[in-house]
Subunit: 172 residues, 2 copies
Amino acid sequence: MDLNSKIRVIDGFPKEGISFKDITTLLQDKEALKYTIDKISEHLKDKNIDIVVGPEARGFLFGTPVAYAIGAGFVPVRKKGKLPGDTISVEYALEYGTDILEIHKDAIQPGQRVAIVDDLLATGGTIAAVAKLVEQVGGEVVSLDFVIELTELNGISKLENYDVLSLVKYDI
Amino acid sequence: MDLNSKIRVIDGFPKEGISFKDITTLLQDKEALKYTIDKISEHLKDKNIDIVVGPEARGFLFGTPVAYAIGAGFVPVRKKGKLPGDTISVEYALEYGTDILEIHKDAIQPGQRVAIVDDLLATGGTIAAVAKLVEQVGGEVVSLDFVIELTELNGISKLENYDVLSLVKYDI
């Protein structure tokens, strides 16, 4: 399937100069949604994944169906203050300023094998922060799986130690 | 499966006097996640659902795996300003003040059959707003499916015209 054609590009969102990759057109197309989840699941086959982790909010959209499809559990990583239990947090750099992500301390058992799933690999800052959280609670990050990669931003250079899959690559 | 035992109750979150139902403990348990998605999917069987709609952010966690499992598309309903394309919006009442939800205008084709999936039925205000958005873009709301219902809040009274499933009921 030409997954690229299922993604809508919207120039100027969320601000001037950005060419936003809109995955809602992919999600609403039942064949494209099934194809996307099946391709990621195929990449995770034989990796004995216990837990899929996805960051809020678009990581939830792909992470939970992948967890269901491969028979794993799902653990959300959320913005500060959203998770009700005891958490650990990580601060990471954005284009301007910083942000904080959290994971429940007891969400992952030491030694569990983890795949991190998100919609987009851009600079890699968010995913490197998510991987750090998973490792701090004792999980082993086995795979990183993205629907889209913006290759020009070279996020992959931050993720050298991991097995990375991205289904659609854009060079802008 | 005793799904009730998979949900963690945290008193005092997000504020004093609230007994928060934490579904992350259910999600991280692979058998409980599978059971939850399969039960909702079973309720939607023979309803010819084209699209599953889920509100941000916890509705994403259950809505997309259900869409995948039943072979439907998924359409997100998001807070104001998050969706990149042309949207319609609805304002609805919260305990204090109001909030705004949006859906892409072209997300649902007229006559498509829709199931709305969310983690929690409380007062029913959010879900009534989501149903209104779906109907305004031409969708037919066929089913409302929740993991948890807080029966004391009587949200079901706002949803009289719909086929409603909730898997776990709390009377507090």
